[in-house]
């Protein structure tokens, strides 16, 4: 017990790192998912150049979602970590600076964000398609156009359809953050592993990690439930 109290603040810091990593990755994944869904849904229109660009985006988005769903998180993380280091070395060499270390936190965020962005692309695409077509037309009939129709009519319904899938992706993403400890980031898992080994009681410290992760997944599960209820308040 004393051991836990001694290392409590350290582990708490690790938990904060883990949560920051998860939230930032989710943010990146959301942006990528939004872009991917839009790219896949847009119909080619306008002048030939514009049409070509839209088609190209759709192709890139399809390639992205197919490839990203085939790679394990840890492998992508290592590719980005070593690749990022290489690119950084190249840049510092060109600029004549000393070598800098590529951030492990950044590599982790990029890898997790990229992977789950692919899953969110499909979630968002499905949710957008689930909003009935008549809703947009009804909004237009009320005199709402463009951004206002989107904000007042389409977006809230889109959120209602997207939330369950979004919540699932978040739960999987949170668990995915554990593997950043393998590239040496001092997150909750990495710290607990080190301390556990040096204190010769890895079981105890891993149990703490288990409890923290269960806490995160339980609290966010509860939160998503409330959000889902809020966004379906117009439904019976």
């Amino acid at each position: 017990m004393q051991k836990l109290l001694d290392y409590g603040p350290l582990l708490l810091g690790g938990a904060v790192t883990t949560i920051c990593l998860a939230v930032l990755s989710l943010l990146l994944a959301t942006l990528l998912g939004g872009w991917g869904a839009r790219a896949k849904l847009l119909r080619p229109r306008g002048d030939p150049l514009n049409k070509g660009l839209i088609r190209l985006q759709a192709r890139v988005a399809t390639a992205y979602t197919t490839l990203a769903r085939g790679i394990p998180d840890l492998v992508l993380m290592l590719i980005l970590y070593f690749g990022g280091q290489r690119a950084l070395n190249w840049v510092t060499e060109l600029a004549g600076l000393d070598t800098l270390e590529f951030s492990k936190f950044l590599a982790g965020t990029l890898a997790i964000g990229l992977l789950y962005g692919a899953y969110l692309t499909e979630t968002f695409r499905g949710a957008w398609l689930a909003v009935a077509k008549g809703q947009g037309e009804a909004a237009e009939a009320l005199g709402l156009r463009g951004l206002r129709a989107f904000r007042l009519v389409l977006f809230p319904q889109f959120v209602r359809h997207a939330l369950p899938g979004y919540g699932n992706v978040w739960q999987v993403l949170v668990k995915s953050t554990a593997v950043v400890s393998v590239i040496g980031l001092e997150d909750l898992v990495g710290l607990a592993n080190d301390v556990g080994k040096s204190q010769r009681d890895p079981f105890l410290f891993m149990l703490v990690v288990i409890v923290v992760y269960l806490g995160i997944t339980s609290v966010s599960g509860w939160g998503f439930n409330r959000l889902e209820r809020y966004y379906s308040r117009g439904m019976r």
């Binding site: 998180d73 492998v75 080994k197 890895p202 288990i210």
Partner: protein
């Protein structure tokens, strides 16, 4: 880029692929054997449901890496302090990364599959069971001839996802020194000082296996879900 080194040592990667496939297939098989009774028990509110719910909650709510560390270091170091554990029959297994990985992966996959099977069982159309009873089948026959096959068919698409997740999760085995695809990549890096090429190769291998799994499940779905008329 030194991909010639990868090609020169292709046998290393081939062995990695075999180890990964072995480990994933065995874990899925054991996990399935855990999940079938657990899923049925959950769907029916058997008195063991509470215990099963706790098991599923813990294994689905925490990262596979942490579960693996808990068993690998936890059992090895913490339990290893006691003589009676060291003297026991199971000690060689508890020290061996391969057995630990198999145990943890099976429990993990079992927890996810339990949820999938539970979902498939509770969504069975009532009429299907009533029709079976009307034909004079006994309870046991209804279970084994109608309920379970029907649930497993409908669980196929989700189970396909679980198989891919298990494959991707299995990189954790490489972290605890097993020479799976990820493990041999680490060995390759340590031996020849080339990191990038190895990881790209690993990514390509995992991706290829993922596509094969997806293809297999697409065929299975075409065959076993043909009655739904979804196949194009």
């Amino acid at each position: 880029m030194r991909f010639d080194l990868v090609f020169e040592h292709w046998d290393l990667f081939a062995r990695g692929v075999v180890t990964t496939l072995e480990l994933v297939a065995l874990s899925l098989a054991v996990g399935f054997c855990i999940a079938l009774p657990c899923g049925l028990a959950l769907a029916r509110g058997h008195r063991s449901a509470r215990l099963i719910r706790a098991y599923v909650y813990v294994f689905r709510g925490t990262p596979l890496l942490v579960q693996t560390y808990l068993f690998y270091y936890g059992l090895g170091v913490t339990l290893g302090q006691y003589d009676w554990v060291r003297d026991s029959l199971f000690w060689p297994f508890l020290r061996d990364a391969w057995w630990i990985a198999l145990l943890v992966f099976s429990l993990n996959s079992g927890a996810y599959a339990t949820e999938i099977i539970r979902g498939a069982v509770i969504t069975i159309p009532r009429g299907e069971l009533e029709a079976a009873r009307a034909l004079g089948l006994s309870d046991r026959q209804v279970d084994f001839l109608v309920l379970i096959p029907s649930a497993l068919r409908r669980a196929l698409p989700q189970y396909g996802n679980e198989v891919v997740f298990m494959l991707h999760g299995s990189v954790v085995a490489g972290v605890i020194t097993i020479q799976d695809i990820f493990g041999v990549t680490q060995t390759f890096r340590a031996r020849y000082y080339v990191a990038y090429e190895g990881f790209l190769t690993a990514a390509a291998l995992y991706m290829a296996i993922t596509f094969v799994i997806v293809l297999i499940f697409r065929q299975l779905e075409k065959r076993y879900l043909a009655h739904l008329g979804l196949s194009r």
